[in-house]
Amino acid sequence: MKVENVTVRAGAAVSVEHVGVEFGDRHGGELQALHDVSFRLDPGEFVTVVGPSGCGKTTLLMLIAGLQTATTGKITINDVPVTKPSPAMGVAFQRDCLMEWRTVVGNVLAQSDLRGWKKSQHVDRAHELLHMVGLAGFERHYPHALSGGMRQRVSLCRALLHDPQMLLLDEPFGAVDAMTREQLNLDVGRLCAGSRVTTLLVTHDINEAAFMGDRVIVMATRPGRIAGIVPINVPTPRDASFRKDDAFLGSTTAIRDLLEKAGAANG
């Protein structure tokens, strides 16, 4: 995959300060989905969030996306508080959420159509992105003709169409097989590094988190909180050989230790 010709633009700086989310349950009590979560994302950084289900990692992503509001605390993107979805943001969800009635290129362009932007300005970019993820020649296909991995690539191109400063990925590779997943990890790493976009990837896969992240935020449940942050001191994007590296093993072990310790504390 080629990464030249990518618009170089500074990624966003994100700050999450003492964020908490509480849901009222039906017995009048309160459920803490997130408790006192704080971290920062530097421009162009690739940060992964890993944790068991129910730890609030998707909630965290929704908060940064402006699709949910926090009960307490503050989130800013480039020092501007998040109140609604920012146009400088691109999101890809766990399910690819493609429009079955649109062609591949039409699905990528949905990003600008839904925003009411002029289509003609983005057509070239759409083709360029599809080329970069290896989908050249599939522009006129409908999604039902694509494999799960290909569909996710289309979803990713849609998220990147408007050259966002901030990319939010919610377990985008959860539904594809392990081999495709490793290939997608490589492709996405290069794509994001090439476009300098600040990326937050939520996953429940420890290996994926360690392979892709400059830093890994490890989360724990009840209440959803940060158990620790593991920096991985090998520059991204990394190539496949990193999976066999001692640094990789060390990182996954550190993540596992954090998860185990948090699990033991919960009993």
């Binding site: 996306a65 999101v91 969800f93 959420c97 039902h144 003709a145």
Partner: protein, 278 residues
């Protein structure tokens, strides 16, 4: 079902560059779901039915109870001056009724889908009135609107309207939540969310309702003609029955079946043109 099977074949051909290399080999042998085989099977089924009918007549069922297939075919030709104008009347009533049902049905469903208040007001009413057998209202419409074609159009529209409203509303409300989230993430306006996500996503469901509706519109028109008036194929049937001309009544039923099938496939054709996903 036949055309569905063909669509699958076409998409298989188009996507063969992806994965269908072995699929092409199988093509040398005609498959059960290929179009010519399907057509042949349907023709065979109809031929067997007519054969059974002929046997029953030969075996001694009286012609004033069951006219022979041949006498029905004769009536189709010899009564063409009665059947053709009646066909035109019933066809027009059905089309007008169906178009009214489509227009109002989709509009009402859009109102239901876009406003909670309207939904809470209209939906229970809809459920209650759907439970009323609508053909029971036919005599009332005849007494309101007279003996012409108009009450028949009203009954056709009423019968066809319900499936259109319900399928459209279900389609519009039941859109994949992920797509709605995508709309929110891209700050799409309510109108854009509707035009670019909800409506296109609901189209398969809408066409499901339209296919039910078009058949019910024909039923409504014929029921109207049974109850009152002196036009249309429904009237031809009741009149022929009164005069013991059973082969003419059967001929009219054959014509109705042809209209019904033609209209159904017409809607399906429009669906194929509007939904380009295959």
């Amino acid at each position: 079902m036949r055309t569905r099977a063909r669509a699958v074949t076409v998409s298989g051909l188009r996507s063969h560059s992806l994965s269908a290399a072995p699929r092409r080999k199988k093509r040398s042998r005609p498959r059960i779901d290929s179009f010519p085989v399907q057509l042949g099977l349907v023709i065979l089924a109809i031929a067997l039915m007519i054969l059974g009918w002929e046997i029953a007549v030969i075996a001694g069922v009286k012609s004033f109870i069951l006219p022979s297939p041949r006498s029905v075919a004769d009536a189709l030709w010899s009564d063409r001056n009665i059947l053709a104008p009646a066909l035109w009347v019933t066809f027009k009533e059905t089309i007008f009724g169906f178009l009214i049902a489509t227009g109002f049905g989709i509009a009402i469903a859009c109102a239901i889908a876009s406003s909670r208040v309207v939904e809470r007001m209209v939906y229970p009413l809809l459920v209650v009135s759907n439970a009323v057998p609508k053909i029971a209202l036919a005599p009332i419409f005849i007494s309101w609107f007279g003996l012409g074609s108009f009450p028949h159009v009203v009954i056709a529209a009423l019968l066809a309207g319900f499936p259109v409203v319900i399928s459209t509303a279900v389609g519009l409300v039941g859109v994949d939540s992920g797509l709605i989230l995508l709309g929110r993430a891209t700050n799409a306006t309510k109108l854009r969310t509707f035009a670019l996500i909800r409506f296109p996503a609901a189209l398969p469901s809408i066409f499901g309702g339209l296919k039910l509706g078009v058949t019910l519109a024909l039923t409504g028109a014929v029921v109207g003609e049974f109850v009152g008036g002196n036009v249309g194929l429904g009237y031809v049937i009741t009149n022929a029955q009164g005069n013991l001309l059973l082969s003419r009544a059967f001929a009219a039923i054959v014509v109705l079946a042809v209209i019904g099938i033609a209209l159904f496939y017409l809607v399906e054709l429009v669906e194929k043109l509007v939904i380009p996903r295959k």
